[in-house]
Structures are given as C-alpha cells and as structure tokens.
C-alpha cells in the first residue's frame, strides 16, 4: 500500500510541511525521485539507506534538462559536490527552488550556483563561464570581457575585483524579476488533489 511508505519517509519531514498541498507534493516528489531509477531506490526508507542517484539521471529531469545551469544546481545541492543526489538533497533542491521559499534563501543558493570554482567569491572567470552558458558562446571575446567588467563595476562594493556574498545579495535583492522568474520551478503537478490521495494523507497525519 502506498501510504505505508509515506509513513516511512521521515514522519518528521511530513511534519515540516504541514500543508496538505505540500504533503501531496512531497509524496509526488518521492515518486519522481524513485521513477528516475526504480531499481536503485527502495520503497522502504525507515533504515535511511544510502542511495545516491548519479548526475546524469538528475540532469535529465524535464525541469532541469533545458536549464544551462543544471550541472551547477546539482552540484550545489548534492552532498558530495559532484552532482550525485540522495533523497534528502533532492528534497532540499525542490524546496529551495519552489515558489514559496523566501527570497534570501534563494539569493544564497543562487550565489553558490553561480560560483563555479567554489571559492565563495564570484570572480571574473565565474562570470565569463556564466555568460557563455547563458548565450551558448554566441558573444565575441571582447563583448564577454566588456560585460564582465561592467558587472564587476556595477555590483562590487568592497572593491576587491570580485563579488562576495554581500555584494551579490545587495544587488540581487533589488532585481524586479528575481523572485518571479529566477530560481523557481513550478511543479508539474496538478493543483487539484485527487480525493483518494487526500484521504490517505489525512489518515496518516491525523
């Protein structure tokens, strides 16, 4: 029965998302995770099995496969930093990238995504890589250089030639599009819950 393993995924995770809609999403997320590799992921999670899905599977999900930063996203949220994600990492990723995550949290993770060399600063080479990924290498070298210089010029407050977390947050918090478009997934889940599923979740939590 499906609600048995719903119980077994940390009850506490369920308690963290007391919203019915979110519980529904949660069970769907687990099934999404499992559907990527059904032979690797067990239905029973009580013993906290150490299962990691390799990056190739994660990067082929429909939400991510068109995103130029999918590799960085997977690397940021994975424990080993290589893009191989456990269920916890997977849930983490979706919860940060959902519409309901607060802006500061998104800004923090956005900074980590754009920091390609993981040195806690966005330096010029990081910017060049970001730009090339965004435009698929369509800009000339001069143009790339000019844009990166302008970005550092605009956003660098402490004048060290690279962007720290504070610089980044200071800049991104004022952006009009940030919350709406960036770092948002809309789950391809239906917003109307089917009656049976709702009842099952109700049984568990009440």
């Amino acid at each position: 029965m499906k609600n048995k393993h719903l119980q077994k995924i940390s009850f506490i995770i369920l308690k963290m998302f007391p919203n019915f809609k979110q519980q529904y999403f949660l069970s769907r997320l687990f099934h999404r995770y499992r559907d990527l590799a059904p032979q690797l992921v067990p239905l029973d999670y009580t013993n906290q099995p150490d299962v990691r899905l390799p990056y190739e599977l994660i990067g082929s999900m429909p939400e991510l496969k068109d995103n130029p930063f999918r590799q960085r996203i997977a690397e940021v949220f994975s424990e080993d930093g290589e893009g191989n994600m456990t269920l916890d990492d997977f849930l983490d990723m979706f919860s940060v990238l959902s519409e309901m995550a607060p802006r500061d949290l998104k800004a923090y993770y956005a900074f980590k995504i754009y920091d390609f060399n993981n040195d806690n600063f966005i330096c010029k080479s990081d910017l060049e890589k970001t730009l090339n990924k965004l435009t698929r290498n369509e800009l000339t070298e001069d143009e790339v250089r000019m844009v990166c210089e302008k970005v550092i010029d605009e956003a660098d407050l402490d004048n060290d030639g690279r962007l720290s977390l504070e610089d980044f947050q200071h800049m991104i918090v004022r952006a009009p599009d940030f919350l709406r478009e960036v770092c948002n997934f809309h789950h391809r889940f239906t917003s109307t819950m089917r009656g049976k599923m709702r009842k099952k979740i109700q049984e568990i939590t009440l």
Partner: protein
C-alpha cells in the same frame, strides 16, 4: 516550579517554536535541519505539557488545543482558496511555453473576468432580479410590450440580431424598467437601486483598479533605476527557470544574446555622435504623417456615422449598410496599428521607447474613434429628444380621440372606458434604449471580429503553413509567412477598450455586463487553445514586469473617460417620458432627492441641503486642491532626498575606490587641481603661486565648488593653512 523558572521555560519553549516555524528559511542541509527539528519538537512536547501543571493546567491545555485547531482551520482555508483560483494550470502551461509576458495577458484577462463577475452580480442581483420577480410582467404596460405594428416581425431572426423586436422590450435594456417608486411586498425601490448600481459600478471599478496598481507598484519596487545594475541583473536574472520546453529554451537563449548585444551597443553608442538634424526632421515627419492618419480616421468615422443616421430612416438596407459603422471601426482598428508601425520605422527609436510610442498611438486611434462615435450618438439622442416632444403631443391627442370615440360609440355606459391596449399606445422614441442597443451591437461585432481574426489570422495561417509546406517552393515555416506570434499589446489594448465600452453602456443596457462575462469566459478558453495550437514563442521575449502598471494606467484612463458621458447624461439630459425607471422626472438624479425627502428622517434632509450649499462645497474643493498640492510637494521632496542619497552613495563608492587604489581621483575638479599643485610635498612659495591663486579664485565663483575644492584639497595635500586662506578669499 517557581515563577522565574516557569517564565524561563516558557521563553525557551517559545524560542524552540520559533525555530520550528523558521527552519525552512535557514540555508542548512537536510540532515542538519532534521536533527534540529527533532530536538526542538521533543523539547516542546516534553515541556509544553509540564508548564500546564498546577492551577491553570486545564485552561492552558484547552487554549493550546483551540490554537492548534484555529491554525489548522486557517491552513485548510488557504488551501481551499488556492484550489479555487480558476485556470491556474492552464496559465502555467502557457507560461512554460511562451514565457511570463504572454502569461501576463492571461492573468490580466482572468483579473478582468473577476471584476466583471462582481459587476454582473451587482447589476443582476439588485436591478434585474427585482424587476423580473416583483415587477409587472411582459405585456402589462406599454413600455413592456412590442407595439402593434412590429408584432408580426418581432420574432424574426434578422430583427432579433439587430436587438429589435422581443429583445428590445426585455430586461436587457433600460426601457423595460418601470418607474414605480416601490415594487412588491418588500417595497424595493427600483429606480433608486438602478441609479445607485450605475454609480456603484464605477466606484467599485475605480477602487479595484487603484488597489491593483498600488499592489503592482509595491511588488516591483517601483519603476526603479534600471541603470544601476543593468548588466548584473541581465546576467543573473534573465534566465527564466520556468521554461521546460526545448523550443522555448532556444528562443530564450537567442533573446538573452540579443538583449546583451543591445546593451553592449547602447553602452558603446553613448559616445557616438549622430546626425541630430536628420533624425529630428525624420521624427517630425513621422509624427506629422501619424497625426494626418489619426485625423483621417476620425473624419472617416464621423462620415460613416452620419451615413448610418440617414440609413436609419430608410428600410431597404442590405447587410453591409446595416453594419457599416461597426465594420469600419473594426477595420480601422486592424489597419491602423500596422500603418503606425511602418511609419515609425522612420524614427529609429530604441525598441522599448518605440513600443511605448506605438501603444500611445494606437490608444489615441481608438480613443479618437470612440469619441467620434459618441458625438454622433449624442446627435442621434438630441434628434430623438426633439421627436419626443412631438410624440408627447400626439399621444395626448390620441388619448382624447379614444375617449371621444368610446363615449360616442357607447352612449349608454357611464363608467370610465377601459384602458387602451398596451400594444396600441403611441410610443415615444426612448433614446436610452437606442443608446443601449448601439453599445450592445458594437460589443457583439467587436467579439465577432476578434474571434474571426484569431480563426483566420492564426489558425488558418498555421494550417496553410503546415500543410502547404510540402508542396511549396520556399520554406513556409522558416521564411514568410511562418507561424504567428501572440500579439500581447494589441490584445491587451483590445481588452481595455472593450471594458471601456462596457462601462459606458452598462447604465443603458443592464444585460451588457452579462454578455461581457460570457465573452471573457469563452475568450479565456478560446485564446488559450489558439495560443498553444497556432502560435510560436516570441523572438524577443517581452519583459512583463514593468509594463503591468502601464496597462493598469490605461485602464484607469479609460475608466475616467467612460465615466464622463454617463455622468453628463444623468445630470443634464431629461429622461424619456414613457420608458425606463426615471420616466416622468425632470432629471434622473431627482430620484435621490425624492428618496431623501420621503424616506429618510427629516434631519438627514436638512443635513443634505446644508451639504449641497455652494458655500460648503467650494471650500471643500479648495481644501482638496490644497491637499493635493501639499502631497505633491511632499512626494517631490522625498524624490529629491532619494536622489541626493543616491548621489552620496555613488560618491562614497567612488571615494572607497580611490582610497583602495590610492591613485588618480575620479573627480574632474580634483584632477584639475592636482595639475595645478603638482608637488604636494613642498610648500610652494606664495609669489610663485599668485597666478594660480587667481585662477583658482575665478574658478571658485560658486560656493558649492569651493566647498568641493576645500574638501578635496584639505584631504589630498599638505598645505592646509595656505589653502584655508584660499577658501576664505573665495567666500
């Protein structure tokens, strides 16, 4: 447990609860979050019960339980509200394929649907339903009956589509309503309710539009400095993470590249010198051409309206003559924007500015057309008012004749004669119903044209491109005509103007709002289908966020403009003598005065009479003008303070940069000064520097500059004492 301990424990429990509530916001890994959550929950469970021991335990437990139930109820209610938002999935689907700009049109459509639904329920509930339930039925009085001459043709399809016949004498239009002061056993005051609903429509719409504008301005942080972080924002926020489709992603890459190239060119072009005179001449020429076009279209409309007035007197009309006005107006709406776009290529504006000009011009085109239409309508109304006077005399004569005939034919009867059959009574021209019919016909033809355009312009085109491609010489999909793009601005403007017509016409045709609700509902499904099936995403994905308030601003403007004619007619035109809820009165607002006199207690009457005194109104108006002036100057002061702060921040940043780099100053003035005083380490002998003192003195005419110099100099060099003198002398 002592008091202090209990208080401390409660504090800790509160802290842990806060942690549980905020644990989602912390940027921790899942494992760490789970660990802290477990700890916090165990702590809370253990001690929450313990705190209740003692006197108030039961009460405390009860309070906790009620609180939990209340929170759960709120959560369920939130869920319910979210599930009730209609079409959310459809719009999300459109958004993922076409980006947020196209989706913003559908969100706007949905918002309009909500507003129209409220207006419809107001009108329906307070005007239509009472008349239907508690008023007199069809056929009982002249205004509710089809006249004898028209009765044979009243059910014909052609007559009904013209909204004559049974349609005209129905609840849809103004003329049906009776002017009885109270109807039914509830003593419902229909004329008053009619007037109040008419005014309330505008009031509600105004409130809703302004509230949405304020909310939009809030979310966007205002139309802020887009020059502050242009490139940074472009780099970090231009990718739309909602895109889940390879084709859209390709388009997005292309549009991002184009946008970067545009900004780069902008940067480089700032220093470029262009041939200003040629450009100015071209722009003046373009504006002249466009003004000519606008004038031409206005005249065309006027001419066609005059012709339709002549046609109204003839009977042998083909389909074209009957609908000429609506066809011409719709055609102008189609051809005009294309013409404007072609002429606008002379101007060579930046595309964003060009778009705003385009929208403004289309707006002027539609406005001009609408107002010419209204003026022509007013001519018609005045003609009908003249006619009414004749008919009034004629109907009185008719009544006398009828009585005379009756007494002549039945000399034995002494009682009063039976009343005339409602269908036989001579009718007045009832100008309000005519106006209502005109608006309804205009709306219907607009709907038809829009739907047909989508069907032919998008669907048929897509079919042709797809299927004819197999046997055509050039690639239809890649070259011309290819698939259509969704025209956001055209559609939004169409929606806005349609709403303006509804606002104007709903006073004379209460059924119009119902028609509009149906139209918006079907539009939603139809256009969603058409977009997904026949359109391709834009080449240049249009940013929706900043323009949202622009559309709301247009809506507000249209609201005010459509308020004017209605208020004018309420205030100054006399209502028809035999149709509508205000028949028999001098002016429509007499209903209010009547209600105040007869229904409200007398002291309210005296209060209103005082309030209507010009001696009170004029000071009130003056006060409002003063308040507006004051608020305006306060907001200007805030803006100036903002600019000053921004400048200060910029200067501080530059200073920081200077200090770090320890090199040339960024300030031109300081650079000049450094040239003057090349050797900072030695005290220059006064005689040598005389010439330079003069130079600096002349340079320091304005005190601002002096302060600047003073600050910079004192900072940068050693010759303090000497330069103080300089400053003093300049002052």
């Amino acid at each position: 447990m002592s008091e202090g301990e209990r208080a401390r424990l409660m504090e800790e429990v509160e802290e842990k609860k806060k942690l549980i509530a905020n644990i989602r916001n912390k940027p921790w890994r899942m494992k760490r979050r789970l660990k802290h959550l477990k700890e916090a929950q165990l702590f809370v469970d253990k001690f929450e019960g313990a705190l209740g021991k003692g006197k108030g335990r039961k009460l405390y437990a009860y309070k906790v339980m009620m609180m939990k139930k209340w929170i759960k109820f709120q959560r369920d209610f939130e869920n319910f509200k979210t599930a009730c938002i209609p079409w959310e999935r459809k719009i999300k689907e459109v958004e993922s394929h076409f980006g947020s700009s196209v989706a913003s049109y559908f969100i706007f459509l949905r918002w309009m649907y909500g507003m129209n639904l409220v207006l419809f329920s107001l009108t329906f509930g307070l005007v239509v339903i009472p008349e239907v339930l508690m008023g007199l039925p069809y056929g009982s009085i002249p205004r509710k009956t089809v006249p004898r001459e028209e009765q044979d043709t009243a059910m014909d399809y052609s007559v009904l589509t013209d909204f004559n016949g049974y349609c005209k004498y129905s609840v849809l239009f103004y003329g049906y309503y009776n002017n009885q002061r109270t109807i039914g056993f509830l003593k419902f005051r229909l004329p008053l309710s009619y007037l109040m609903v008419g005014i309330g429509t505008f009031g509600y719409s105004l409130m809703v539009v302004i509230r949405t504008m304020a909310k939009n301005a809030d979310v966007g942080g205002g139309d802020g400095e887009d020059s502050e972080f242009t490139f940074a924002w472009k780099m970090f926020t231009s990718w739309d993470y909602l895109i889940g489709n390879a084709e859209t992603a390709d388009n997005k890459y292309a549009s991002i590249t184009t946008s970067f190239k545009e900004s780069i060119v902008d940067e480089q072009e700032n220093q470029k010198d262009e041939n200003i005179h040629l450009r100015r001449f071209l722009r003046v020429l373009a504006n002249f051409l466009i003004t000519c076009t606008l004038g031409g279209s206005g005249y065309l409309i006027y001419f066609v309206v005059k012709r339709s007035q002549e046609f109204a007197n003839r009977d042998d009309l083909g389909w074209y003559e009957k609908n000429e006005l609506e066809i011409i107006m719709s055609l102008l709406g189609l051809v005009g924007p294309m013409l404007f776009e072609t002429i606008a290529e002379l101007e060579e504006y930046h595309p964003r500015i060009a778009l705003k000009w385009q929208l403004g011009r289309i707006f002027a085109l539609f406005l001009g057309n609408l107002y010419t239409f209204l003026l022509a309508l007013f001519d018609e109304v005045n003609a009908k008012l003249e006619e009414e006077k004749d008919i009034k005399n004629a109907s009185i004569w008719f009544m006398k004749e009828y009585f005379a005939n009756f007494t002549a034919n039945n000399p034995n009867e002494t009682g009063t004669p039976p009343p005339i059959e409602p269908a036989d009574v001579i009718r007045g021209p009832c100008w309000e119903t005519t106006v209502g019919i005109e608006f309804v016909k205009l709306t219907i033809s607009d709907i038809q044209v829009t739907y047909l355009t989508i069907l032919i312009g998008d669907f048929l085109r897509a079919l042709i491109v797809r299927f004819l491609n197999y046997c055509w010489c050039w690639d239809l999909e890649a070259g011309w005509p290819s698939y259509g793009e969704f025209d956001i601005s055209g559609n939004v403007l169409g929606l806005v103007f349609n709403q303006g017509m509804i606002w104007m016409g709903s006073f004379y045709a209460p059924g119009l709002v119902g028609i509009n609700v149906l139209r918006l509902l079907t539009s939603m499904y139809y256009q969603c289908w058409a977009v997904m099936a026949c359109n391709v995403p834009h080449e240049r994905v249009f940013k929706a966020s900043k323009s949202n308030n622009f559309y709301m601003g247009l809506l507000l403007l249209i609201l005010f403009l459509s308020l004017l004619p209605v208020v004018y007619t309420i205030m100054s035109l006399p209502p028809s003598f035999d149709c509508g809820p205000f028949s028999g009165k001098e002016r429509m607002f007499d209903v209010i005065i009547e209600t105040i006199e007869l229904d409200l207690p007398s002291f309210l009457g005296t209060l209103f009479s005082y309030a209507a005194n010009p001696g009170l109104i004029i000071p009130a108006i003056l006060l409002m003008v003063l308040a507006i002036y004051y608020l305006n100057s306060v907001s200007e002061a805030y803006k100036n303070a903002n600019n000053e702060l921004k400048k200060k921040m910029q200067m501080a940043r530059d200073e920081e940069k200077n200090r770090r780099n320890n090199k040339d100053s960024t300030n031109q003035v300081m650079k000049d000064l450094e040239d003057l005083l090349p050797n900072r380490s030695n005290l220059p002998p006064p005689e040598e520097k005389k010439g330079q003192i003069f130079f600096v003195e002349i340079f320091c005419e304005r005190s601002q500059l002096v302060l600047f110099l003073g600050q910079g100099i004192i900072k940068g060099s050693q010759n303090r004492g000497y330069l103080h003198v300089l400053v003093y002398r300049a002052h």
